[in-house]
């Protein structure tokens, strides 16, 4: 608990510092490789497709906004080594048939130009894994299931490189945190209350349960599954509690964690049962949607929810990467709901792709000569601080996912912006535009970046 308060105090300094930020233009923070080849007159496209209108749209849609802003930014400063930057994207609506047909169209239409593909769904990654290898296309993906990155045997690194740690590794990391924090989690028993599918069920593998058991953390064998369309999940939550869970863990987005937290408050168990989840639960959307239900202390239901945070977050304004993205966000007049994980991460992924292209072109001599295999070789050898430290990219020795993570807790800002609120009296409340008021969510890091356990078998 002492650690928690120390880190909360750190946040105080962080957010306090943010207020004093100068209004000057912030320099692009990345320490990029210098161009040795002039690409003036050429165009380099960022290709991406994914669920922009289906079940995950509310978290992935800001990706388009961020890539658009990044493309405009780069072109405003002369492009990448002189080449104009463009983007080509398609909405697949979370439909795997659409994913396949879009991939087929991209590969036939853009052929040799398509060396790097940006993806953002585990299901898409699993579907396209073999095809990407066959077509020699590198994919940078904002997701992390074992099968997509390492194949069915968990031992065969493919052509996909993830920006986050594998979800199973994130769960193992959560178990580490639980085991190391007996004052918060006495006699821990974790029950999954989660979405279905590759993303939702990642971490429910026996290897994860065995690892956690070795740390003294019991994991219930039966995950409780609910759908994004469910309006009532009392049954699932009570099932987990009846089986002995005192910690609920979820791989779900936006409404998912908010619904679980709200149900715990409805049951009057918000203090007895802790809630944690994968890195995506630490999102603005959860902070906003979790305000439908308030805890008895007057703060939103998701106040105190734990989650992984493998990269920097919006509130860490002392860091140039966050200062820069925040400035771009404001300059492009993006709406508050777009200020989420996906927007932040997409700037980082564009940065990583551009660095990969520069290094590849420096080696092979031209954009035309660059192949997917060149890009793969570059990524595998890179040890790169994306956007100057937003996240670390290090894929040596067959790694295909991020190796470090840190734990964080969701809190809500106080009125003086010096730390988290303790109740509605000292909370920062913003008008929501319809006569109501909104709490301002904060993601407070609880640990430093640390290696995650490798649990893929």
């Amino acid at each position: 608990m002492k650690k928690l308060f120390t880190l909360l105090a750190l946040l105080t300094l962080v957010t306090g510092g943010a207020l004093s930020l100068a209004q000057d233009m912030v320099e692009y923070p990345s320490d990029m490789t210098e161009c040795q080849v002039d690409l003036t007159g050429e165009t380099f496209s960022i290709y991406h497709f994914g669920d922009l209108s289906g079940p995950n749209a509310f978290i992935t849609q800001p990706i388009v906004a961020a890539v658009t802003d990044a493309v405009n930014f780069w072109n405003s400063r002369g492009g990448v080594c002189g080449a104009e930057l463009a983007q080509v994207y398609e909405d697949t609506g979370g439909n795997l048939e659409a994913t396949q047909s879009t991939y087929d169209r991209f590969t036939s239409e853009y052929g040799d130009d398509l060396d790097i593909l940006l993806l953002y769904s585990s299901n898409d990654g699993e579907l396209l894994r073999e095809q990407l290898a066959e077509d020699e296309i590198v994919s940078v993906i904002a997701a992390g299931s074992i099968e997509s990155l390492y194949g069915e045997d968990g031992q065969t690194p493919g052509w996909l490189f993830a920006s986050n740690p594998l979800y199973i590794n994130q769960f193992g990391f959560f178990c580490q945190f639980v085991a190391a924090s007996p004052e918060i989690f006495p006699d821990p028993v974790i029950g999954f209350v989660t979405w279905p599918g590759a993303f939702g069920l990642a971490g429910t593998e026996p290897a994860a349960a065995e690892y956690c058991a070795g740390l003294g953390v019991e994991v219930l064998p039966n995950p409780q599954i609910f759908l994004p369309t469910d309006s009532d999940i009392l049954t699932q939550v009570q099932n987990a509690i009846d089986e002995g869970a005192n910690i609920l863990y979820t791989n779900s987005l936006a409404t998912g964690p908010a619904l679980i937290a709200g149900t715990l408050v409805d049951l009057g168990m918000e203090d007895d049962i802790k809630l944690g989840g994968v890195n995506w639960v630490m999102d603005t959307s959860v902070g906003l949607l979790g305000q439908r239900v308030l805890r008895p202390n007057g703060l939103p239901s998701v106040d105190g929810m734990f989650g992984g945070m493998p990269f920097l977050w919006w509130t860490e304004l002392q860091h140039p990467a966050i200062q820069f993205v925040t400035q771009q966000f404001t300059a492009n007049q993006r709406s508050p709901v777009e200020q989420n994980i996906a927007y932040l991460l997409s700037w980082g992924m564009v940065d990583a792709i551009i660095e990969t292209v520069i290094r590849s072109v420096n080696t092979v001599g031209s954009l035309d000569a660059m192949t997917g295999a060149d890009a793969k070789a570059v990524i595998e050898s890179m040890d790169y601080a994306v956007l100057g430290g937003l996240l670390q990219q290090h894929f040596a020795e067959g790694m295909r996912d991020a190796t470090h993570n840190r734990m964080a807790v969701m809190k809500f800002a106080n009125a003086t912006l010096t730390g988290p609120a303790t109740g509605p009296e000292d909370a920062l409340l913003m008008p929501d535009g319809s006569g109501g008021q909104l709490y301002v969510p904060l993601v407070v890091p609880l640990t430093d970046f640390m290696p995650v356990p490798q649990l893929r078998g």
Binding site: P55, A57, Q224, D232, N239, V293
Partner: protein
Amino acid sequence: MTEFIRANKRQLTWALYLAAAVALLLFVGDQLAGKKAARIVQTLISGLLVGGVYGLVALGIVVINKASGVFNFAHGWMMVVGGMIFWSFFTVSEISIPGALLLSAATMLMVMTTASYKALLQRRNLLTALGGSLLLCLLMTIGGSDWQWLHALTGTAAGAVLTGLAVERFAIRPLIGQPLFTAVLMTLAVAEVLHGITQIVWGTVELNLPIFVDPATNSRFKPIRLDAFREALGGIAIIRVELVIAFVLAILAFIGFILFFRYTSVGLAMRATSEDQQLAQAVGLRVRVILAITWAAAAFLASIAGVLQGGAVGLSLNISFVALRVFPAVLLGGLESVSGALVGGIIIGIVEQFGTLINSSEQAGTNLAPYVVLMLVLVIRPDGLFGEKRIERI
């Protein structure tokens, strides 16, 4: 033996189904035996309340089917559009007067030209359209944000009517006389069009619709806790107020539509049209107008369901998938039965919840149980519990 089976085929088939049903009940009973009474009561409450909303969604699909024989695959997207329109009026503090006027005028124009565009040539109709537009616009914009409910309800009603009439006019009406299957496929196309429009106008980001909010606490209504029964049930059971409100509204909508179909001339005309469009036209019924009213009513029902669902979990494109979950309820109750939609919805809601109670890990509640029940019922009653038995005479 073969002779015996052949002679008693029907009885043996029934015996087989009966045995399957008994086995299923025994299995469920065994699974529930170890559960606390509080969990069973809670599951029943949740199933009933969620089922009420399913029933409301099912009602919209049934209304269209009852009047036109078309199974409307666009109903889920009509829910989304209705919910989004409500959100636009409910959460925006200053309503755009030109926008409201445009919506009002478009709605009135569609209403006045339901039978024919020539209606606009009559001065009286023109004046009615103009007056109606101004009145609607006034209701959508009058007062400040304290009047948000009036703005939202008027705007949503106008938007729903406009959506329903537009779908009927431009997608369904041109297919009158064509095979029914063509119209069903057209509803799939309409679904995609509404999907696209929703994305363009409202984006894809999840929206908060704070309608079930207690003004005193500015948060969702606190659930009703059945503390008085805690000892008897061996635990606590709760009732979520927003689901109760949704359930009550669903019941009211059902009562309204049952009365409408039974006692109003338009309702009776709808039933006649559903029996035989050509015959209905031959006896002087204005089939086009009746179909238009039906689509407008269905869009209105979809909007109510969209608002209720959006208020309960947030407004997102996912709401459209609720309609897919309701299909078993529609088939279970009977495609043409208004009361069947409610009963089907409630049965599916309860079955889903008990399936989840017994085995949530394999999604038995949502993926398996409703369809097992549907299969059992359809085998015994192919037209659903309350569906009309069709006899084709050659």
